[in-house]
Each structure stands twice: as structure tokens, then as C-alpha cells.
């Protein structure tokens, strides 16, 4: 039987001190096991070679349909999943080769806020314990300052000090999300992955949480990776945006560039699908046919060619390479093969 191997060739990255996080050709494959011996028969290519970097104090938005691997990217960066290939540099340090003790020391610096505030809080712990557990574990503050520190963090996130003895079921969705934010923030992180932090909330509560995240970013000089499928929220909060499709980035650039002129056909379709709260705006919607193909058996060539309106012969056989159309604005599509490359240097 043919042995399945993961291709793991990439050119190592040179660290730029401006960047908090640098991701280079990151891959995460989940094995599919079958038969009595649980032999690996194939891989689900959840993340298939992604590269980007995030500057200190900025927010990168990651958008895409469900099942395109956005969450897996976030988790692999934090080493909640082991990578299958590529590199993740956090302040120039490869995260996935650290020893257990080193990893433990690094954990407080990178935090995550989960999507569903209803299932990510332990129902058996009071709020003070949820927020404070990791603070005590990592000795963030001396013992005698511990109580004041927790109170301070909680009030910063819009919670009252008397909430400390309450349990998660006594809170509404918006308040629970505040608790999750307080928990992440209490460790004084540099980098926070926000995995769809507002999609489970009402519109009016969404606004409160987004404002809170922005205020905290300014105050603590935080760097966010903001994962969401809601483009209007991503547009509001992000500085740079990456659009994902089936485990790869199809377009990457600053918010202004991407929203002014989306280049990739998928980005265009995604943008035209957003409902606009104005009954007068009748625009030409590009409706994508069908649904996302299986990441276990992605299409050959360009992964998007099965649903693409501008599909050419070339797209079916040859995978496109990232191309810099404007400084800092990359697109992965054969349509732009003939455009002149515009390098920053």
C-alpha cells in the first residue's frame, strides 16, 4: 500500500521585530482512520499552507465560510492542535518546538476567547475562580494583591466586584462573554485569538462587546486575530483581512484595499452576499452555486474552480500562487497572472 506523506517543504522565515505573530506555510491535517487496525487512509486538509503576519497592536480579521478552517488556524497557532507542517513564530520564537515548561511560560502571553459563551465557562466554578484560577497558577500578581487585581480586571470588562461569588448560569450571554474576555485578559496577554466572539449574541449586545474589545486593545496594546464569518463586524474591527477558502488564504491585504477593490472571485461573491440594511440598495448579487467541497478530497488546481464564475482551463489543473497586486495586497488567482507584480520594495 502506498504510504501517505505530508509534504512539508517551505522556506524558513526571517523574523521582523514589528510582528507579534508570523505564520509561514502552516498546515494542519487531521488523519482519517479506517479498518480494524485504524490505519490512516487519508487526511482532512483543514489548514493547507497558510502564511500571514500580524503587526503589534493591530487586528487581523479572518473570514470564510464554516468548515473552511478558520478556527483550526487559531487553535494551531496557540498549539491547542499540533501543527502538521510550516512554522508559527510568536515574537520570533517557534511555538511548536518548545518544551512543556517553556510552553507553560509562554501560555499567558497568548490567549483565546471562544465562540460560545454558554459552553466555555465551567458551570461549577464561581466567576472569581474562573477569572482568577490561571492568574494564581501563573503567579501574575503577588498573593496579597490578588483580590484587588481580580476586581480591577472585572470592572475593566464591565463586571461588578460582587459578581465574583456568582455562577455562570446567573448571567446573560453578553455578560458571559465579558467574563470570557476578563479571563483571557487577566493573564496580561500580548496576543488574543477571538474566535467568533460575537456571533452568539444579539445585535445590541454585539455592539457593546465590540466596543469593549476595542477599548481594551487601545489600553493594553493588544494584538488580535479576529475570526468571524460576519463581514460587517470584521470590517469594523480589523486593520488587515485574510479571506479563507477550503484551508487556504485566497486574498490578504489591508481592510481599505480589500473593501475598496476585492480581487478574488470568492471575495467578490462573499461581499455581495452581505445583506445591507437599506431597502433601496438593489445590487447585483453573485450567488455562489453549490456548497464548499470536502477538505478530505479538495479539487485539483485552484480549490475554488468548482464554484467560480471566471473559471479557465488553467484553473482546473494548476494551483495559483500568491501574487502582490498592490503593496501588501495579495491574491491567489490565475485571473491576475498577467497583471504586473507590484512589490513593496
Amino acid at each position: 500500500m502506498e504510504k501517505i506523506t505530508i509534504d512539508n517543504t517551505f522556506t524558513p522565515l526571517v523574523h521582523n521585530p514589528d510582528n507579534v505573530l508570523e505564520v509561514n506555510a502552516l498546515k494542519k491535517y487531521f488523519p482519517i482512520k479506517e479498518g480494524m487496525l485504524q490505519r490512516t487512509v487519508g487526511y482532512v486538509r483543514a489548514v493547507d499552507g497558510i502564511s500571514f503576519n500580524i503587526k503589534r497592536g493591530t487586528t487581523m480579521g479572518l473570514v470564510g465560510e464554516s468548515g473552511c478552517g478558520k478556527t483550526t488556524v487559531g487553535r494551531t497557532i496557540l498549539r491547542l492542535h499540533e501543527k502538521s507542517g510550516g512554522e508559527v513564530l510568536f515574537n520570533g520564537q517557534e511555538v511548536h518546538t518548545l518544551s512543556k515548561a517553556q510552553m507553560r511560560a509562554l501560555r499567558p502571553k497568548m490567549q483565546i476567547i471562544f465562540q460560545d459563551p454558554y459552553s466555555s465557562l465551567s458551570p461549577r466554578l464561581p466567576i472569581g475562580e474562573i477569572v482568577g484560577e490561571a492568574v494564581r497558577e501563573h503567579n501574575i500578581v503577588p498573593k496579597e494583591e490578588f483580590n484587588d487585581y481580580i476586581d480591577e480586571i472585572m470592572s475593566e470588562c464591565g463586571l461588578q466586584p460582587y459578581h465574583r461569588d456568582r455562577y455562570p448560569h446567573e448571567f446573560s450571554g453578553g455578560q458571559r462573554q465579558r467574563i470570557c474576555i476578563a479571563r483571557a485578559l487577566a493573564l496580561n496577554p500580548e496576543f488574543v485569538v477571538c474566535d467568533e466572539p460575537v456571533s452568539a449574541l444579539d445585535v445590541s449586545i454585539q455592539a457593546q462587546i465590540i466596543n469593549l474589545l476595542r477599548d481594551l486593545q487601545e489600553e493594553h496594546n493588544l494584538t488580535y486575530l479576529f475570526i468571524s464569518h460576519d463581514l460587517s463586524v470584521v470590517e469594523h474591527i480589523s486593520d488587515t483581512i485574510g479571506v479563507m477558502y477550503l484551508g487556504s488564504l485566497v486574498e490578504f491585504g489591508s481592510k481599505e484595499d480589500i473593501f475598496r477593490e476585492p480581487l478574488h472571485p470568492y471575495t467578490k461573491a462573499l461581499f455581495s452576499a452581505i445583506p445591507i440594511p437599506d431597502p433601496n440598495s438593489k445590487m447585483n448579487r453573485i450567488v455562489l452555486e453549490g456548497s464548499i467541497p470536502s477538505p478530505a478530497n479538495p479539487p485539483k488546481g485552484c480549490k475554488f474552480h468548482t464554484r467560480c464564475k471566471n473559471c479557465m482551463e488553467k484553473c482546473k489543473t494548476e494551483a495559483p500562487q500568491p501574487k502582490e497586486i498592490e503593496p501588501g495586497h495579495f491574491v491567489v488567482c490565475h485571473l491576475y497572472d498577467n497583471e504586473p507584480e507590484n512589490k513593496a520594495e
Partner: protein, 389 residues
């Protein structure tokens, strides 16, 4: 520190209910609900009892001062507290509001699907137009309702993942509805109709899907199946309760396109419940904005979006980020929704409102007509009210 303790105590005592008090309430509730249940479960009820007249024969449904309450052990929750609006024939009416504002309960009242026995329609009427006659759904007994539900009025639920039964094939689940409402049809006829319905909602491989189980389909496909079940009997009214909330934007666009096309094809009306103002703007002809169990504003989509009048509607629109509209900070409505068990007797929105006028100290504001179709419940427009009289 002592200050902390005091706030803690007062916060707790506000919601405190002794066991004795709770028992008293639940006994009282049981008395009320069991009388209502008895009436609902009667058999052989004469049709004249729930026969009624439409106020305007062009409407499919008229809600008239509907009150739906939940009798819980901690008190009565007035989930719907005096709601009046109508759905005209062939139109789409969008209902917007935060979760818990009663928009779903209104539609469940129409389907008589409230969680019984706690949930009950207490007063008011829901007039349903059946073409040659009209029924008052609020007074209908269980047996009569079974003929209407799924046949004349049907519903598309929010979660396509949980509203299909995982142990039955798709075909069997669509067949069931058709067979129930057309008992004389043969098996072959039913199956043919099911395949036809699946094709109509854009499922290409309809013969294959007929034999599949729900887990083999994606979210968008499942929602298509749900829609085909809802449309199977050519209903006069389709209630779509957050039909696209669980779906991706690209799939959402597909489903909305589909709903719009199908509505014209079978000539029915849609009652679209959602919290996404963008979806409403795209689909709805009329918009109803609900807050804490009451309607705060209603009008045509054009009026609501170009001239939002109630402070709540204005706040709701400002708090949603919109593509290509740069704001530094999103507006967020201060405070939170009042406790549904203990509603104030003044305007429910007063404590969160930034545009209060003197008159707001008084009772709950009446409906004020800004135009023939645009109605708002807010004292800021009191001048219009006088002209009205």
C-alpha cells in the same frame, strides 16, 4: 468592602422568592391553566364558536391585541403583551427585535405551538383568512387546529440541524406531511409530490436525497428540505423563524433568493422573523419592530429604514456595523431589557432611552400614526397624535 456586601444583599433580595410564595403562585397558575387546557382539549366543538370575520379581506392574518403569557413558578411572564398587526396577501412582513422580545412567541401563538400548559393565549384574537371563511385561532380547539397547521399555515424553524428527525430518511419526513393532509392519495402519488417539492427547492439529486438521512446533508441543504416540508401543502402563510441565522452568508443568499422566488410561485405570504436588519431590508415589504412583548414601531420597509422614529429602532440600526460606513465607535443601547415578570407601567424603553420627554413619566404611550401605515409608540411624536383626533 462593607459597601460591597450591602450591594450584594440588595441585589439578591430584589429577586428573592420564598418557597411558600412560590408554592402559592404555582397553585394559582395550575388553576388558571387547567381551565384553559380543558377548553382546548374538548372534542366536537361546533365551528360557529371560532368562526369570525376578517376586518380586511385582503389580509391573510390579523393579530388583534394578542396577549400570550407564560405562567411560571416565579410569576407570570407577559411574553406577548398586546400585539396588533396584519399580514397582507402576497406580502412579506418582517418582525425584528432582540431575543426574548416575543417575536417567536407571537408566531408560535398563531401555530398554537406554545409550550403548554404554562404558555397560553390569554386574550385577543388571531384571525386567519381561509379564503371563503375566517377562523379565530385563539379560540380554536386542538382537533380543529390540526387541520390548519402545516396545511394552511406552516413554519420553517431556525435550526435545520435539530428540526429534522435524525432517524428517518428525508423522503419519509416530507411524505408524512403530504400524506397527513391528503389522506386519499396513494403512496406513488405522495412520493411523486415529494420529489417534485425537493426539486422545487433546488435539490438537484432529488431521488438520491429522498433516500438519505439528515446527517448526510449540509446545513444549507437541510434548510432546503425544511422549506420543502413547509411548502408541501401550498400554505397561505409561511412563518420563517430565523431561517438563515445558523447559515453562512453565501448560503444565506441562496436561501433568501429561493424563498423570494417560491413565494411568488405558490402565491403565499411570508412572516419573516429575524434579528438581522439586513435580511429584513432585503426581503420585507412591511416591518414590525418589537421590544419587550410589545410593538414599538411598524410601517413599510421604506418608512422604517428611511425614517426610523422610535428611539429603540434608531438605536438598533446604529448598533449594527455596516460595510462602507465608517464609525469610530458603535452605538450601544445603554441598560438592559426590563424583567419580564415585573414590567413597569410606564414606557418599557424609558429607562434606556436617551431622548425622554416630559410626558414619558406617564403611562405606556399609545399608538401614534405618523402616516397611514407608519405607527410608533413614543411620546416624542405626541403632536401627531392630536392631529389624528
Amino acid at each position: 468592602m462593607s459597601e460591597n456586601k450591602e450591594t450584594k444583599k440588595s441585589a439578591r433580595s430584589a429577586n428573592y422568592l420564598s418557597a411558600k410564595e412560590s408554592r402559592r403562585i404555582s397553585r394559582q397558575n395550575r388553576k388558571i391553566t387547567s381551565a384553559m387546557e380543558k377548553k382546548y382539549r374538548r372534542k366536537n366543538v361546533p365551528e360557529s364558536e371560532y368562526l369570525t370575520q376578517m376586518h380586511d379581506p385582503r389580509n391573510v392574518v390579523e393579530f388583534d391585541d394578542l396577549h400570550s403569557y407564560f405562567f411560571t413558578d416565579t410569576g407570570t411572564v407577559k411574553a406577548v403583551d398586546g400585539v396588533t398587526y396584519e399580514v397582507p396577501q402576497g406580502m412579506t412582513v418582517g418582525v425584528v427585535g432582540e431575543s426574548g422580545c416575543g417575536k417567536s412567541v407571537t408566531s408560535l401563538s398563531l401555530m398554537q405551538l406554545l409550550q403548554r400548559p404554562q404558555g397560553q393565549i390569554v386574550s385577543g384574537s388571531i384571525r386567519l383568512n381561509l379564503g371563503d371563511k375566517a377562523y379565530d385561532v385563539a379560540k380554536m380547539p386542538m382537533r380543529a387546529m390540526e387541520q390548519i397547521r402545516g396545511n394552511q399555515v406552516s413554519m420553517i424553524f431556525q435550526e435545520p440541524m435539530t428540526s429534522l428527525n435524525p432517524v428517518f430518511r428525508i423522503g419519509a419526513q416530507v411524505d408524512e406531511v403530504i400524506k397527513l393532509h391528503n389522506p386519499t392519495w396513494s403512496k406513488g402519488q405522495v412520493k411523486q409530490r415529494t420529489i417534485e417539492m425537493l426539486e422545487m427547492v433546488g435539490i438537484a439529486n432529488s431521488e438520491g436525497v429522498y433516500r438519505m438521512y439528515p446527517h448526510e446533508l449540509s446545513g444549507g441543504m437541510r434548510q432546503r428540505v425544511m422549506i420543502s416540508i413547509a411548502l408541501a401543502c401550498n400554505p397561505r402563510l409561511i412563518i420563517a423563524d430565523e431561517p438563515t441565522t445558523a447559515l453562512d452568508v453565501t448560503i444565506q443568499a441562496q436561501i433568501l433568493d429561493l424563498l423570494r422566488g417560491l413565494k411568488d410561485k405558490i402565491n403565499s405570504s411570508i412572516m419573516l422573523i429575524t434579528h438581522d436588519l439586513g435580511v429584513i431590508a432585503e426581503m420585507a415589504d412591511y416591518v414590525v419592530v418589537m421590544y419587550a412583548g410589545r410593538i414599538v414601531e411598524k410601517g413599510t420597509a421604506q418608512e422604517i429604514f428611511s425614517n426610523p422614529s422610535h428611539p429603540y429602532t434608531i438605536g438598533l440600526m446604529a448598533s449594527k456595523p455596516v460595510i462602507n460606513r465608517r464609525v469610530d465607535r458603535l452605538y450601544s443601547i445603554p441598560g438592559k431589557v426590563p424583567n419580564p415578570i415585573d414590567m413597569p407601567d410606564y414606557c418599557y424603553f424609558r429607562d434606556r432611552c436617551e431622548q425622554c420627554v416630559e410626558r414619558c413619566q406617564g403611562k405606556y404611550p399609545p399608538e401614534i400614526h405618523l402616516t397611514d401605515t407608519h405607527v410608533v409608540s413614543c411620546y416624542r411624536y405626541w403632536d401627531f397624535h392630536k392631529e389624528d383626533k
